[in-house]
Amino acid sequence: MTILQTERKTITYRDAVREAIRAAMEADDRVFLMGEDVGRYGGCYAVSKGLLEEFGPERVRDTPLSEAAFVGAGIGAALGGMRPIVEVMTVNFSLLALDQIVNTAALFLHMSGGQFNVPLVIRMATGAGRQVAAQHSHSLEGWYAHIPGIKVLTPATIEDARWMLGAALADPDPVIIFEHAALYNTQGELPPQGDSPFDIATARVRRPGSDLSLITYGGGLPKALAAAEELSLDGIAAEVLDLRVLRPLDTKAMLATVRSTHRAVVIDEGWKTAGISAEISARIAEEALWELDAPLVRVCTEEVPIPYSRHLEEAALPQVPKIVAAAHRVMGR
């Protein structure tokens, strides 16, 4: 993705998600949107603004503050033949619904011996960087990726924001889409609909390079691209791999980039310990050990709750200079 600030034909990530919801609801009347303040308020990030007027309150359902029940109701509605899009306002509140996600949605197909699949899509905003402090700044998408039975998507580009949802709705199993809140305002050109069905299985190289690999996803992508740009000024050609999907991970793509560059930095806004960055690092070390010319380095969020004050929050999160420094370390220069 190239982030363009041109005046024509550009669209925000927010608009892309809204357009995806609208198109899905137009195409299939089993699809409906449900969540806190998706209707009258217009969505806490204005994603669903206008949809209530367009589709009415039955299909754009404001829910009470009952995360467990409305996520569980989404599971039930999916079992009942609907194609619900459940919006959990942010990942922080999804902890209240975790029982339903982990103990019901993820297990149902298996426990029923293959009888009942759950075609549910859950969307939630994730991430830090807006000074909203510890309880509103979690990045737990990598944590969710630990759970078999669910799929985890992390659209980082306008294109993915626009097209992943439809593919997720077509998926027979529970899919969780994490939208990094800092991306909603990003603008870019929306490429015409590409492959159909849209690919939600593989990672993509967003910038080719031969010296080292920057492996990231979601909110990390713009930072990795910026770091790659900066590194290029130092004559270092960084390849940027956008994972796109955290479960199941595209191991092949990870190994392919590392086999070509022999060095890697993983950028993850989640905490480091036992996060998705650990899995990436472990898989590469386990499956491509002899290909590595240097130990892999992870640039993650510091292992602290996210502080409010701007300078501390900035220091806690992965930032371009940290990525650049890590890349130099890995390059040995």
Partner: protein
């Protein structure tokens, strides 16, 4: 006066559960069945009575104590037993066991081992029916212990707020494992909870199969007719331990014996006999038929096979 046919049908349905579970207990001792096993013995009138009120198009969500519900709903006993044996011929291919009986054919959505966990699911099934304009009802069963869970409250409110076609069936057997209701709820009148959501709620004698059936029929009719969700408190008692591991330190033998005097099967059998609707021969025949049915379930399970280990990773995601 009871319709004779129907009266005997109710009795037989309860008896099927009783005898089936007695066999399960034996098979547990024989280590044919493993893991957790929660018996419904004593509570049969509840599942049987409620199921009478449902049509095949309706849906059922139950708990880990759901053999009775599965049987009364019409699940094949052989497939239930095979499930408990862990055989691939089981209703959940042996993946679920006693606590996770599923059957898409009869819209039986489990078998949920998280207390309260099935309620949101039931609300969602109701939501789907509401959105599709179908007049189906979803019956959700749960114990009185679940009333303390947040998921119970959130689900009740959501169903009532959206007037969804859900029948909440609270099986109040007075204990959640070893915790008596009065040590679990500050207010034991459970119908007051429903009232606080403006949901119609009735207290029903869960040892009286006819009372349960009547209440369920009225409630289901109202739900189906657009009356929004209803709540039934079904007062019952479990005669056996909570599970096979429970030393039952928390209640006296006396109490159990008192309740056994109200055994739903014995009570209903006496009523039928007194009304001249059930001769000893008929009863003996019923016993024999039920025994045979249970035996053939066991035979089916015994004859079942183990799923090949190389299939372990199936059913995590749907197959294309």
């Amino acid at each position: 006066m009871t319709d004779p046919e129907h009266g005997r049908h109710l009795l037989r349905e309860m008896l099927r559960i009783r005898r089936f579970e007695e066999k399960c207990a034996q098979l547990y001792q024989a280590e044919k069945i493993r893991g957790f096993l929660h018996l419904y013995i004593g509570e049969e009138a509840v599942a049987v009575g409620v199921m009478e009120a449902l049509t095949p198009e309706d849906a059922v969500v139950a708990t880990y104590r759901e053999h009775g519900h599965a049987l009364a709903r019409g699940m094949d006993p052989g497939r239930i037993m095979a499930e408990m044996y862990g055989k691939v011929e089981g209703c959940s291919r042996g993946r679920g066991g006693s606590m996770h009986l599923f059957d898409a054919g009869i819209r039986f959505y489990g078998g949920n081992a998280i207390v309260g966990g099935g309620l949101p699911l039931g609300v969602g099934l109701g939501l789907a029916d509401h959105l599709q304009g179908r007049d189906r009802v979803t019956a959700v069963f749960f114990g009185e212990g679940a009333v303390a869970e947040g998921e119970f409250h959130e689900s009740m409110n959501l169903a009532a707020l959206w007037r969804l076609p859900v029948l909440f069936c609270c099986e109040n057997n007075l204990y959640a494992m070893g915790t008596a209701l009065n040590r679990s709820e500050s207010q034991n009148r459970l119908t007051l909870k429903a009232a606080s959501y403006e949901m119609p709620a009735w207290e029903v004698d869960g040892m009286d199969v006819l009372a349960v059936e009547e209440a369920a029929r009225m409630a289901v009719e109202s739900v189906r007719g657009g009356g929004g969700p209803h709540f039934l408190e079904l007062r019952t008692y479990r005669f056996r331990a909570h599970s096979m591991f429970d030393p039952e330190l928390y209640r006296g033998k006396d109490e159990i014996e008192q309740w056994k005097l109200r055994d739903p099967i014995e009570s209903w059998r006496s009523i039928l006999s007194e009304q001249g609707l059930l001769s000893d021969d008929e009863w003996n025949q019923m016993e024999e038929e039920v025994r045979a049915e249970v035996q053939s379930a066991v035979d089916f399970a015994e004859a079942g096979t183990w799923e090949p280990v190389d299939q372990l990773t199936r059913f995590v995601y749907s197959e294309a």
